[in-house]
Amino acid sequence: MTKLLEVKGLHAGYGQTKVLHGIDFSIEQGSVTTLLGANGAGKTTTLRALCGMIRRSGDVLLNGEQINRKQTEDIVRVGVAHVPDGRGTFTRQTVEENLQLGAMTRGDRAAIAQDMELVFSYFPILKERRTQQAGLLSGGEQQMLAVGRALMLLDEPSFGLAPMITREIFEIFRELNRKEKVSMLVVEQNAQIALELADQAYLLETGRIVFSGRADDIRDDENLRKAYLGY
């Protein structure tokens, strides 16, 4: 398997406060990787650092190409899509406009229309509501919209959703990964559901990676689970 994303010695923080103290991890092509950890461990910061939304240092290689010095817009343009926590919905625009915004970096109108139909096939409810203002959607629907808009870095997709909706969304992540071969990095507090989806997992604690391995191994290791994940 080839490495899609490789991160080496990533440091990042906000102003004077350092949050990440040199973390290393990688994502294999076509796999789902999850980043687990408690509140304040640095999960969201990791995603923000990858996308250049905050100051960072270290190596970030996408398909072997250094993207660490690039601007957010340019990182997005080479194929890294980040669904931020709070989903980043454009609340004043319609559902359809939100999806078009997700395709902003592409020029091929026919392909965009085709992909929009694909999104609608995964999330039929969005098709029904395509002309509605996106701010009026429920949390679950907004998450669907965010996923339809972008794929790859998912920051707490389960946040604020009912357990049933969470299941549904994760089921679709699985399907997208299998059928469309989309690689994902999922950041979650809900370790249980994330581990079911993921191939590879990393545990983050106060800005350092304390464990990495196959998702199945973590799930089967009761001591590890109890120590870090609390279930």
């Binding site: 957010t72 997005v76 931020p84 625009q93 915004l101 902003m104």
Partner: protein
């Protein structure tokens, strides 16, 4: 009754200028969160460029569109050179910069073209429209051009990808960057558009108020009043606010004897104060809650 109708129509036609200025102000406001005090002077400078072109013998409509293009580029350059470096600077830095821009542009215009009052041609002529005493040809032309401009802008923002990107950048800059929109350039584009709209307003109003470096001073106040009345966060509201201010100003000037022609500008200030006290969000704006 005829006087009333006449004044309403006159109000709508000057209101169309206020609407353009208000729209220009709002476009920059939604992009960078500050009121551009120099908007009027930028429009005045554009009008001088048009005047110069016409004086050199360029046909009116060629000069008209050439001026719009020059203003568009000029607006982008002003943003890139002056305001982009200020990006996250405190509000006071912006205010100082706007005032600096205002004085520099006024002085530059005075230096280049001197402060004497100049006539500016109207492509529509000043004769009454179809011999009617209700409205002059230039007033009708002003309304028509404004209407066309507003329609073009509406379609641009509603149905084009760049328009969508502009709206998205103003509403949610963080997410906009995450979908790959170059937000910083969208802000520059907003400046370009605002400056171009201001240029149209300047060229349309110049035949009425005559061209000189201070011609937009009062008009900018009316424009601000329109923007505040409609809601600073709502471009559509600002346009309507501009028209309303035009009508209110004209009716009050005509029918309230104390006000007359001299105290008209006071009305604009009264509107600003009243709206800010009673309904700070304006008629169509959203009341903004800021995290501190």
């Amino acid at each position: 009754m005829e006087l009333f109708v006449q004044q309403v129509i006159a109000g709508i036609s000057t209101g169309s200028i206020y609407a353009c200025v208000a729209l220009a102000v709002v476009m920059i406001y939604v992009a960078i969160g500050h009121l551009n005090f120099a908007q009027g002077e930028m429009a005045m400078f554009s009008t001088f460029i048009a005047w110069q072109l016409i004086t050199w013998g360029v046909p009116y409509w060629v000069a008209f569109f050439l001026t719009i293009a020059i203003s568009f580029v000029g607006g982008i350059i002003i943003e890139r050179v002056i305001f982009k470096p200020l990006d996250n600077a405190p509000i006071l830095s912006h205010v100082v910069m706007f005032i600096a821009l205002l004085t520099i542009i006024t002085s530059a215009a005075g230096f280049i073209w001197d402060f004497s009052i100049k006539t500016f041609p109207s492509p529509f002529g000043s004769a009454p429209l179809f011999g009617s005493s209700l409205i002059s040809a230039h007033q009708a032309g002003m309304m028509a051009v404004t209407l066309l401009l507003l329609l073009a802008l509406f379609f641009f923002f509603r149905y084009t990808r760049v328009g969508l990107a502009l709206r998205a950048s103003a509403d949610n800059p963080v997410s906009a960057r995450l979908v790959g929109i170059r937000v910083s350039w969208m802000i520059a584009l907003g400046w370009g558009l605002a400056t171009a709209i201001g240029a149209v307003a300047g060229m349309l109003v110049a035949p009425v108020v005559f061209l000189e470096p201070n011609m937009m001073l009062g008009i900018l106040v009316y424009g601000f009043a329109g923007a505040v009345l409609g809601g600073l966060s709502s471009p559509g509201g600002a346009v309507l606010g501009g028209f309303l201010v035009g009508v209110i100003e004209n009716l009050a000037g005509t029918f309230i004897p104390v006000i007359g022609g001299e105290l008209k500008l006071t009305i604009a200030l009264c509107i600003i104060v009243l709206v800010l006290v009673l309904k700070p969000g304006g008629l169509f704006g959203r009341a903004t809650i800021q995290r501190v």
